[in-house]
Assembly symmetry: C2
Homo-oligomer: 180 residues x 2
């Protein structure tokens, strides 16, 4: 890929990410993005059809980067016999997320987070479904799965948004204690 294209794309991603930290997605204009990124108008549209497309692409980029090696394992998650494996996987994911913290902050902070969140939730739903049903419960499995997935994304949100200084291991402990 052309060096110029890389630079432009990175400039736009960076600018967009920075803007997302202080404004909601809906209130950010293309003009602001290209001003912040210092690229021409036509250049922006050469790379992205729309603002939504930019968001989508940034999300997939990050998601694929964060979960690339996990996805390669063909995600055969079966935690039915081992709490330890489950915890290890959680910590593993948190490490990945930590390394992408810079861009994630904007994505988790505001309304636009929905999109990346949905990627994450899709992945987690599959992963967590192996962990459920270990103990008998009244609530529908579907409900518990939904709640566990949301609890995890909210844990991450709590962690990222306020720059909480916990290690992935600490956070895993807290999370496991919460969902018991």
């Amino acid at each position: 890929m052309d060096r110029r294209q890389q630079k432009t794309k990175q400039a736009i991603f960076g600018a967009f990410s920075r803007l997302l930290e202080r404004k909601s997605f809906g209130n950010i204009t293309v003009q602001e993005i290209i001003d912040e990124a210092n690229v021409g108008r036509s250049t922006f549209y050469a790379h992205f059809e729309t603002k939504d497309e930019l968001l989508r692409e940034m999300c997939t980029d990050i998601f694929e980067h964060v979960f690339s090696d996990d996805l390669r394992q063909e995600s055969n998650h079966d935690f039915s016999h081992s709490d330890y494996d489950f915890e290890k996987e959680i910590t593993h994911i948190l490490y990945h997320l930590q390394s992408s913290k810079k861009h994630l902050k904007g994505l988790f902070a505001c309304e636009s987070g929905e999109l990346f969140m949905n990627y994450l939730k899709g992945y987690l739903t599959e992963m967590f479904s192996g962990y459920i049903e270990k103990e008998p419960h009244q609530a529908p499995t579907e409900y518990l799965l939904h709640m566990m997935v949301c609890s995890f994304t909210e844990t991450v949100r709590y962690w990222i948004a306020e720059d909480k200084k916990y290690t992935p291991e600490e956070l895993t402990t807290y999370f496991m204690e919460y969902i018991r």
Copy 2:
């Protein structure tokens, strides 16, 4: 208040709510709202300065309606000795929410939900803080509070979004089981 104003405001609230069920807040135009509500352009702007203002006003309306009697109690929530009271309060809130289901669906369904969610979370944070610290725990209290609040809003979202046919009592049971 003038009967015409009431009718107009209700027409706009209704139209907006219906649109929110099928489109995200950012993609709804004022034109669509006034077409759906069947009111003139100038009329809309006579009532609301902007689209965001409409959202804000609808949220406060619903929130105040749902929690009006609870708020009057000066919210002296102290559940330190009684799980029963806590459960009763939860069920109570769910009943209120159920009665406003129509408008809430749009607010919970999409990106715009953030605003109403934040009202709700503010209220719940105060309420839940009395329930925490009953058992010793490793995780920071702040974290647990955040998680409990989010768990509740997610429970409601799960309930509303998919028109799950649980009674407030059933849902309370599930929620209490989850947060234990």
